[in-house]
């Protein structure tokens, strides 16, 4: 942290990640689907490891709920009264 090419860029990124995780969790997307890790260009193996682990985690979780398409006809309109 703080050694970012864009100076304080990774602090900014971390704030956003910290904000986004609970937010996507609130709309029902598992927050584990968002993952951030800071690695330098010299830590190739660490990056590979991390990504492999992340992929394993994602496989375990199964497909994202976002993949399921909502059928327009199934949208309930009876709840909505103008």
């Amino acid at each position: 942290m703080g050694e970012c090419h864009y100076l304080e860029g990774n602090y900014t990124a971390q704030k956003r990640i910290n904000f986004l995780k609970p937010l996507i969790n609130f709309v029902g997307i598992e927050k584990e689907r968002l993952h951030a890790k800071w690695v330098s260009s010299a830590q190739a193996s660490e990056l590979v490891n991390d990504i492999t682990n992340f992929i394993d985690d994602l496989r375990e979780m199964g497909p994202s709920p976002l993949k399921s398409k909502i059928n327009p006809d199934s949208i309930k309109t009876d709840r909505y009264k103008p």
Partner: protein, 327 residues
């Protein structure tokens, strides 16, 4: 209360301190925002819709009845509050701040008065912090919201720092801000601070993630992409809107690319949303946007210790989220 507001506005206008007083005007039975520039116009000044609230409220209640359980205690409050508040603040709220931003962009050297509620003032504070308005060019005249409206909004602070006092007869009297501890004898509302998280947020959080997803998707799928939430939002002042950027949200689709459209807005509003709830009110599809932004506000206050609008901190204190209108 309305007489006091008129007196204050009159004094301000006569002294030449302000060029105009931005408030609501009632004419031909219609209420709308109006910039009062002369004293004789002030007869038409009004503080919101007090008579026609019944119909309006029932319709809003119905719109949400399927999604948010109607609360019986509000019914009783409403019934009792109606007689009391004939001269008080009405329920209908308008994005006066948004109009003020536009006016002062065109007349940067003039000073304007504005009628503020709690949410409006939070908005003003954020607009000051984001350099959209000059604090020296704005004179605030505060009014507190009626109790039933505050309950309905689940508002944490339904009054501005200073508001026109209803009980004191001296004209132009304004009360100092009242701390939460002294609320019982001075504040205009009994439940001063609502519990956090708010009921609407807590109810959703109690659901399973998958149910929550379905719940939101069902709402988002109704979106007709009218941009009403953005257009009414007093805090939306960007010259170029990310929601219309084809690279961020695919354009020309209905319903819009969900949940990206709504989440992109939620993220953008993270340091701005002052929880006025106008987006929810404006939404023709009755999407409970306010609940989403309330949660965003909760996250902001957890992560950074600051809830937008509730303090005078600058954007850099809150984090390096987008700071200006151009990005």
């Amino acid at each position: 209360m309305i007489e006091h507001v008129k007196t204050i506005a009159k004094q301000l206008l006569e002294s030449g301190q302000i060029t105009g007083f931005l408030s609501l005007k009632k004419e031909h039975g219609q209420i709308g925002p109006h910039l009062f520039q002369s004293v004789d116009q002030l007869d038409y000044l009004c503080l919101g819709d007090t008579t026609g609230t019944e119909n309006r409220e029932s319709s809003t209640e119905e719109r949400y009845s399927g999604t948010v359980e109607s609360k019986p205690e509000i019914e009783t409050n409403r019934a009792s509050g109606k007689q009391e508040n004939q001269s008080g603040a009405g329920k209908s709220r308008y994005p006066l701040n948004k109009i003020l931003v536009r006016i002062s962009r065109n007349y940067p050297s003039d000073c304007f008065g504005i009628l503020v509620r709690g949410c409006d003032e939070r908005g003003l504070k954020r607009l000051f912090a984001l350099n959209q308005l000059d604090p020296d060019k704005v004179v605030r005249v505060g009014i507190a919201c009626p109790q039933d409206l505050a309950d309905e909004c689940e508002c944490l602070e339904p009054w501005p720092d200073k508001w026109v006092n209803d009980t004191e007869k001296t004209d132009g009297s304004e009360k100092e801000k009242i701390d939460g501890t002294e609320k019982s004898d001075k504040a205009p509302h009994e439940p001063v601070r609502q519990k956090l998280p708010c009921e609407s947020v807590a109810r959703l959080e109690s659901l399973e993630a998958r149910d929550r997803f379905d719940w939101w998707m069902e709402h988002f799928a109704r979106c007709i992409k009218c941009y009403g939430c953005r257009d009414i939002c007093p805090m939306c002042f960007c010259k170029e809107c990310s929601l219309q950027d084809d690279n961020l949200v695919r354009t020309g689709e209905i319903p819009p690319e969900y949940p990206v459209f709504h989440l992109a807005r939620a993220v953008h509003m993270a340091e701005r949303c002052i929880d006025c709830g106008l987006c929810s009110e404006a939404c023709p599809a009755a999407i409970p946007l306010r609940t989403l932004y309330k949660k965003a506000g909760d996250i902001m206050s957890n992560e950074s210790g600051v809830r937008p609008g509730y303090s005078d901190l600058t954007p850099s204190d809150i984090g390096n989220l987008p700071q200006t209108g151009e990005y």
